[in-house]
């Protein structure tokens, strides 16, 4: 007789999955809800990876169109976000085939450099500078470290979820996260 082993922390159904199933049945409203819920984090994930706003916008459109075109083949095998970011990652990799990431200047990624106005202008400027340095540092990370740290910082994904998106082991994800954070710390020091 085989053994039983149910792992804790398994994926569970959620509103997103229900919406996606509704979308698969043709409910446009469900799609729009999913879109509005996930568009910004997904856009940032693409933007921080490809380092170009026009390209990120193009990729974003491709990802959502692919999701919609493939709606009929969707079933709840994992969290919706994992599924969505898998499509996004695949699209990014396709993009990298014609636009190698190393060929893109880091400066293209830089966030807005508008001065931050607040009660404490000096502090705001310092924070803005630190933020800017963080994004430069993220842009300089190797691709495999950059994608895991972005999924972590942007989406709060667990190591297990990231492993499902990038299709490597959980230990590999943890290792990449550790390397990435160590490098970011070093750059920010």
């Amino acid at each position: 007789m085989g053994s039983i082993e149910l792992e804790a922390g398994a994926v569970s159904s959620s509103d997103d999955e229900v919406l996606m199933l509704a979308c698969a049945k043709g409910e446009m409203g469900a799609f729009e809800t999913l879109y509005r819920r996930h568009k910004d984090p997904l856009y940032r994930f693409l933007l921080r990876n490809c380092r170009s706003q026009p390209v990120a916008e193009e990729l974003l459109q491709d990802v959502w169109l692919k999701l919609y075109r493939n709606r009929a083949g969707y079933y709840v095998g994992a969290k919706f976000t994992t599924y969505l970011y898998q499509i996004a990652r695949t699209r990014l990799i396709d993009h990298y085939r014609t636009n190698p990431p190393d060929a893109i200047p880091v400066d293209d990624l830089l966030p807005s450099q508008e001065p931050v106005v607040g009660d404490r202008p000096e502090e705001s400027v310092a924070v803005a500078d630190e933020t800017r340095r963080l994004h430069i540092a993220i842009a300089r990370l190797p691709l495999e470290q950059r994608e895991v740290i972005l999924l972590r910082l942007e989406k709060d994904m667990s190591a297990e979820e990231i492993a499902q998106v990038v299709k490597v082991s959980i230990n590999t994800v943890k290792s990449r996260l550790r390397y990435a954070i160590a490098k970011l710390k070093q750059e920010m020091a």
Partner: protein, 262 residues
């Protein structure tokens, strides 16, 4: 206070929190024009007929199978990727550049269609005029399970799945989460594979289903099973537990399959 995904990297949690806090000071969003462009493109796409395959593999298979059984168990190889059906013989062993997701799904749907036809033909030939809950022909003890697809098989993997209502959806069965009393024929046909209940039982024991699957290789497997509960055929002990889940869909964690023999 920013949120920590989980304590899976305690040693770097502080650094991570600081970085997250900084990261979230700069959160560009999509332009309204872009949103409109994308939604318009999708709406235009909606006007086009579906061009691929037979649609949701699960939907059609489930609509037929649910009529026969209490529920449909869907298995997904660990390496197969969420949202996609198993790819027989390829899980975890192929190395290559990632493929286009759309193409993968198209390929998968073609394979699903073939599997579905084979499974349904097999079901029809095995259960003529018999009720799904009993009287179906039982496999002889020791019968090998059917392979997921054509070709020889070298290993048979077995595991036992305890089906329960994961009411709080935490992936663990608590004491107040009842085992499902599942009545079914001896064989469940699932997407891209077959699950055999224990040979000799026309009705599986409450909450227990033996997963037995042959594969053309001996790579260790594990599955994420789930069951789609059909209202008309399934009586809940506590129906209120389903209120928050309109799809009546629950997932049950990972079942590891132990190798039984070659």
């Amino acid at each position: 206070m920013t949120q920590t995904p989980e304590n899976d990297l305690d040693d770097i949690r502080q650094d991570e929190q600081r970085l997250r806090s900084l990261y979230r000071r700069e959160l560009p969003a999509t332009r309204p024009e872009l949103d409109e462009r994308i939604l318009s493109a999708v709406r235009a796409e909606r006007e086009r007929p579906l061009s691929r395959g037979w649609g949701p593999g699960l939907a059609i298979a489930a609509s037929v199978l649910i009529a026969l059984f209490v529920g449909t168990v869907v298995v997904m190889p660990e390496q197969g990727g969420p949202g996609m059906a198993p790819q027989a013989g390829s899980a975890g062993i192929k190395v290559g550049p990632p493929r286009d997701a759309e193409q993968m799904m198209a390929d998968e749907q073609t394979r699903d269609e073939e599997r579905r036809r084979a499974a349904m033909a097999q079901l029809e030939s095995q259960q003529p005029g018999s009720s799904p809950a009993g009287g179906a022909q039982q496999p002889k003890k020791g019968d090998p399970p059917a392979a997921a697809s054509g070709g020889g098989k070298e290993c048979v993997w077995k595991g036992t799945l305890r089906i329960y209502l994961d009411a709080n959806q935490n992936g663990r069965r608590e004491e107040d989460e009842p085992l499902v009393d599942a009545h079914t024929g001896y064989r469940l046909s699932v997407r891209g594979a077959e699950l055999n209940t224990r040979p000799g039982h026309s009705q599986i024991r409450p909450g227990e289903l033996v997963v037995e699957q042959g594969y053309p290789d001996c790579v260790p497997r594990q599955f994420r099973p789930r069951i789609l509960i059909d209202d008309a055929l399934y009586r809940m002990t506590t129906p209120a537990e389903l209120e928050d889940n309109a799809q009546h869909l629950f997932e049950f964690g990972v079942v590891r399959l132990a190798r039984q023999g070659a």
